[in-house]
Symmetry: C2
Subunit: 369 residues, 2 copies
Amino acid sequence: METELSRKLGIEHAIFGFTPFPAVAAAITRAGGFGVLGAVRYTAPDDLKRDLDWMHEHTAGKPYGLDVVMPAKKVEGVTEADVEAMIPEGHRQFVRDTLAKHGVPDLPEGEASGWRITGWMEQVARNQLDVAFDYPIKLLANALGSPPADVVRRAHDHGVLVAALAGSARHAERHAEAGIDIVVAQGYEAGGHTGDIASMVLTPEVVDAVNPLPVLAAGGIGSGEQIAAALALGAQGAWLGSLWLTTYEADLHSRALTAKLLAAGSGDTVRSRALTGKPARQLRTEWTDAWDDPDGPGTLPMPLQGLLVADAVSRIQKYEVGPLLGTPVGQIVGRMNTERSVRDAFDELTRGFERAVDRINRIAGRSQS
Amino acid sequence: METELSRKLGIEHAIFGFTPFPAVAAAITRAGGFGVLGAVRYTAPDDLKRDLDWMHEHTAGKPYGLDVVMPAKKVEGVTEADVEAMIPEGHRQFVRDTLAKHGVPDLPEGEASGWRITGWMEQVARNQLDVAFDYPIKLLANALGSPPADVVRRAHDHGVLVAALAGSARHAERHAEAGIDIVVAQGYEAGGHTGDIASMVLTPEVVDAVNPLPVLAAGGIGSGEQIAAALALGAQGAWLGSLWLTTYEADLHSRALTAKLLAAGSGDTVRSRALTGKPARQLRTEWTDAWDDPDGPGTLPMPLQGLLVADAVSRIQKYEVGPLLGTPVGQIVGRMNTERSVRDAFDELTRGFERAVDRINRIAGRSQS
């Protein structure tokens, strides 16, 4: 499965796997795809360094990339305490009440949420980049808008391609103007932050909007047939995030959450502002329902919402509180019904792609294949 | 573009075009596809007879079908007056206020809305069928749930295949149990009534759920590349509705509405209950905004909402009140940027399909094509 972009990156198959787990990212790269490690949770540069060392040792010289979260708008001189002070007491009480209703215990003394707003701040992403450029990464992706011009320049100086996620053609055009190299068109059905244009419509729109820049299709892709569809729509590769969550290598720290993912249908996700303040697709839970309830207080804008719920989300995960337990995931969760290795999942993608090509050729009357 | 289903129906290309306009349906059939005439507006059997006569004369013996609206749940002995009486006065006042705010004139004396709730009632659909089975239709589609068992039997006795729309795999399984022959998997991005699972995810789910029944993919399809994607996902054909709205043969009765469709982007639609009480994708307008406003009275359930707004919608259309003027249409409206003949639109679909097959074969390394 070769496109101009996959050849440029030196990978066998134009399959890009986004994941917060180094073991998953490395396995995707080893399987012949392109593993992209999500860096948002690395607030300490040394932790990122440790995991990139590990990635480097486990990718056998094959290429991989890093995904950072660098907000388009710079927030100057604002501390976490400043943001904390902007959260209304009514919202804090709503968090306490909702957790109490479900009997969610407190975190142990001295144990704070792993998630901090600082992970979303530009300086943290810049510290991550200082680490990352010491490694032979081939791609730097940004999940929130175009990266700043100096970051794009710095990446290019290191021979690193820059990708950015877009939920609309206009959004993609702004990325192109900012000098990025690859647009990831993220459809409505995707897990995480996403707009409301579905991949079937969004992919070709973005391809046309930024031509000749290469586009990766994201959202609704968890099979080789869906990869074939994305490539038929003009993408130069597929960007998959959700699929890896139920692989053996994924470290969700919760059997209950894995079980929920394996059991969920495609209709069991919701695009909600509950997690970060911006619409992000995730498992629908009583937690998302509480935030989406028109009779509730509603969510706060990013980054307030993320800070408001950080400890609560940690508590729900730590104590595996079933009705509240969720995670960002796309509509393809409905087909994530077995645990398996990344390698098995990857090989099934390439087999499914070949089946789809056979099928299309039969339909087109090109039966030699 | 041949599938098992297209061969069974005797059509050249597995492209199904749904439209309320006989001239469009006939042109789709003549071009080598399968035209499906939407019957909901034919409350008088003679009108349907007249248009089916015309279709018959203009399809040169090639196959076509009919789409009726037959609610799954039978409403016994309920008259339009009964339903009228269930509409709260506050909602009627909201309609009057919203129209007055935009200076929408009344309909002329004696001129009522063309849309009547009766078009949605089972007896009307049965009257339509009495007419339709006198014509050599090859397909009967139902837009609301599975048709009643006796209707399925009657269709089969006439050698007519029965299709039903589904927005989820479970919904599709119920159709299969009801003995229908074809499932139309209608994705989130589609115009008209639709669920929230996008085509990229829905199509293969429905294909697997009802296997070996054939599935048509609907929603987000307006190009040959999108048809190739749908077929890669396992569909035996594509079902297109929106694309034909800006063809010369479509009779929208409003240049302003055509202009709005030509100018709209993929982000200019909304899935709203404003039109019928069930979520239906349509152009987003100040009219849909008013109904979707959390501070407004909100919509009523089907069939009350449709009856409540019928005259208002007629007035908005007749007087072409720009900010309120809308129509059901899918997210592909963003690519409907030129007026052309059905034949030109159709030929572009088949050309785009061949381009997509070429592309997929290059990517798969099957370069002989």
